[in-house]
């Protein structure tokens, strides 16, 4: 009778922690001494995916940088809910300048750090820039691209919730097809956000051939932490795009945030991958493949697809987008997974 050849740790790395793993193999979030970079008392909505994603990401970056980290933050939910005078939830040196300039502010910080270090006046401090999808893929895109092409030593993290949630759920270039927003209402012959619009910034980031581009979700903490850690181990421009469900904008239950992020990944509608110098290197394989309908149905922003006569053709178009991702990024190819 052969022995089980695999190491098996009950929940492996699916759970946040796992007492069965060696301490050094555990997640940053499992650590009692994690920095809680984004502390309690912030004013994010119940079940906010961005608040969660930001703490996941920044705690990991803090861990990877030996707590020598400065963050620049775009205007948006994350900024507004974390730093309304007279309270801030940030435990790290943090600056908010504008909506569209975060990547450039981060470049400035990195430049200052470089010179301070060169002059022996400062240590090896690392820089992250962060913003929502509006601040990243739309208004901040110019500065982002500039930071990329100069290969500035900045890790840019985009928390993508698919719209301008802070201003009341308007469409951004990251809003998915068919989704209802305040500016893409489910009216007329093509209800919701039109197909064939929008952009997938991770792919554009790859086109800059920067050292590292990755996507992640709040549902795969270990993958997210791994990517942040990997990114922090590199120099130059790095970009991590994290899908963060928004209960308010998506019309979902507050407890379903992680579940929806998981569905986004498991349906293939949001590909989770890593790329280096413009080349796709890893893809997080789909574990239990599901049809996109499972992802769409719980979200009120897609409710118009599931009325009395379901929009079968529209759902099929969305499924086709997921299928394309699966082909393009090899999401069912288990050997490609890390």
């Amino acid at each position: 009778m052969p022995l089980q050849p695999v190491k098996f740790y009950q929940t492996g790395t699916f759970t946040v922690g796992n007492r069965l793993l060696a301490p050094e193999e555990r997640s940053v979030q499992a650590n009692m001494q994690r920095t809680n970079s984004l502390n309690s008392g912030h004013r994010a909505c119940q079940g906010c995916g961005e608040a969660l994603g930001a703490r996941y990401a920044i705690d990991a970056a803090m861990n990877a940088s030996n707590r020598q980290l400065i963050a620049a933050n775009a205007t948006g939910c994350l900024e507004v809910f974390s730093t309304p005078y007279p309270e801030t939830s940030w435990q790290i040196p943090w600056i908010h300048s504008l909506f569209g300039n975060t990547a450039a502010v981060a470049t400035g910080i990195a430049a200052a750090i470089k010179i301070k270090k060169q002059k022996g006046q400062g240590g090896d401090v690392r820089v992250v820039a962060q913003g929502g999808d509006g601040g990243t893929t739309d208004i901040g895109f110019g500065c982002l691209s500039g930071m990329f092409e100069r290969n500035d030593d900045v890790l840019y993290i985009c928390y993508d919730n698919g719209g301008y949630m802070n201003t009341g759920v308007q469409r951004s270039s990251a809003t998915p097809a068919a989704a209802r927003t305040a500016t893409t209402m489910p009216l007329g012959p093509e209800p919701g956000n039109p197909f064939g619009q929008g952009k997938f910034v991770p792919a554009i980031a790859m086109a800059h051939e920067i050292p590292y581009v990755a996507t992640a979700t709040v549902a795969d903490l270990r993958d997210l932490e791994h990517k942040i850690t990997k990114a922090m181990g590199m120099r130059g421009a790095r970009y991590i795009h994290i899908l963060v469900p928004c209960p308010l904008g998506w019309g979902t239950a507050s407890q379903d945030t992680i579940h929806l992020a998981r569905l986004a990944k498991e349906t293939g509608i949001f590909p989770v991958f890593g790329a280096e110098y413009g080349e796709l290197k890893t893809a997080l394989a789909i574990r239990r493949q599901l049809p996109v309908e499972d992802y769409l149905r719980p979200q009120k922003r897609f409710a118009h697809l599931f009325g009395k006569s379901p929009a079968v053709a529209t759902i099929a178009r969305i499924q086709a987008l997921a299928d394309k991702n699966i082909r393009k990024y090899g999401l069912l190819d288990r050997e490609g997974s890390r």
Partner: protein
């Protein structure tokens, strides 16, 4: 050390002597030679320990500057015209956050129509942005004001805009007295930021401030500029002690003794005005000049004191507040409130229109006779203007005004039937 050089290079050298740590640059005429010079010095190593960043826009330039300044680096950038407008959001942000960035504005008109030549529309559009704005009359002054600007900015934690006329100064070769590194070092201490992004002492910079405190924040910005009113003359004194030159301060009066007419202006046009005033004094006119160096903060008291003994004043400005008239003039009038003076606004030199001594002479004479209209557009071609106005009265769709006027002038008449 005396040397003959282009204004832009003089400024570049002066900035380099200030030991900047981060310079971000996006090219726009007529600022280009300044940042080119600095870029060259960084690349060659002449200016060491300085990061020179070619950004993708002026918006990014100011944003990079915000980041580096907030991280404790002495930061410099330069822009002009459209570039200044493109970075406006960040310009306001830099002052709101109290970051002592120094920026040269190589003053240039704002389009449309696009125009690369000098006037003060760009800087003056930003008069309320919270920055200190210093206007240079000469290349020597431009050079020296940059050295003072860093000290002023860093002491007060406020950004400073040094404004110098595009082409007229930036591209003019003049003799300047270039200070030594030792002199600059003696005057300008290393930057000690008031607040800094530092893992050792984390803070959150740039909080959202609501109605409960926003007024106070804005008042404090004003109070800071009021402090600058006191500090700017002191710095000029300190500067004189080190460099031996009387540069800076809030205002400069030229031949103001017994003047009945005072001409108020900013920037390089003061040179022409002074020449005309010299001639007119020789001819017996009681005329003097008030040059304003610090437009923000606006030295109400100094201006008031300089004008209180005259009978009338002429504000000659290279800017136009469309729909009302002068910008500088409006500010000057506030300084002389209740003095019972006659004030004239003269808009001149927009988009690089030459301001000739001859025109000025006639203008000032007319003013001396109190015959000047309250608002005058110097050397305006009324024929062209009136013809266009007439056309528009007759035809709703009269075509692009600028092109029509150029056709009237004959500039493009040969090309367009």
């Amino acid at each position: 050390m005396l040397k003959q050089c282009e204004g832009s290079h003089a400024v570049a050298e002066a900035v380099a002597l200030c030991r900047p740590e981060v310079i971000c640059a996006y090219p726009i005429s007529p600022q280009t030679h300044i940042v080119e010079g600095l870029g060259e010095m960084c690349k060659s190593g002449e200016l060491h320990d300085c990061e020179f960043i070619n950004v993708e826009s002026e918006f990014a330039a100011m944003s990079v500057a915000i980041g580096s300044s907030a991280t404790g680096a002495r930061t410099y950038t330069a822009t002009a015209s459209q570039g200044l407008l493109f970075m406006v959001e960040a310009v306001y942000n830099a002052s709101g956050l109290g970051l002592p960035i120094v920026m040269t504005v190589a003053n240039r008109a704002i389009g449309a129509p696009i125009n690369i030549w000098n006037d003060h529309s760009d800087s003056l559009s930003q008069r309320d942005c919270g920055w200190i704005q210093l206007f240079a009359e000469t290349n020597q002054e431009a050079l020296d004001l940059h050295i003072q600007a860093f000290k002023l900015a860093e002491e007060l934690s406020l950004p400073v805009m040094v404004c110098m006329d595009g082409f007229i100064l930036t591209h003019a070769y003049e003799r300047v007295d270039m200070p030594t590194q030792a002199q600059v070092d003696a005057f300008l201490p290393p930057y000690e930021p008031r607040q800094v992004l530092d893992p050792a002492e984390p803070v959150s910079i740039g909080a959202m401030v609501g109605p409960e405190a926003f007024m106070e924040v804005r008042y404090l910005a004003h109070a800071k500029q009021m402090q600058a009113l006191e500090r700017i003359p002191q710095l000029a004194e300190e500067f004189k002690a080190v460099f031996g030159r009387d540069i800076g301060g809030l205002t400069h009066t030229y031949r103001g003794e017994g003047a009945e007419t005072m001409v108020v202006a900013m920037g390089s046009v003061l040179g022409t005005i002074k020449d005309v005033v010299d001639e007119m004094r020789d001819a017996g006119h009681k005329i003097g000049v008030l040059g304003i160096t610090s437009f923000r903060p606006f030295p109400l008291d100094a201006v008031g004191a300089a004008l209180k003994n005259c009978k009338r004043f002429v504000v000659l400005e290279k800017s136009l507040a469309v729909g009302i008239g002068g910008i500088v003039a409006t500010n000057v009038r506030m300084a002389v409130t209740g003095m019972g003076l006659k004030g004239y606004t003269v808009v001149a030199g927009l988009g690089g229109r030459a301001i000739t001594k001859k025109s000025l002479y006639g203008l000032f004479e007319k003013a001396g006779r109190s015959e000047l209209a309250p608002l005058t557009f110097l050397d305006l071609d009324w024929e062209v203007v009136n013809r266009q106005l007439e056309r528009e009265r007759q035809t709703r769709r009269s075509g692009p005004a600028a092109e029509s006027m150029l056709r009237d002038l004959g500039t493009v008449a040969s090309k367009i039937a």
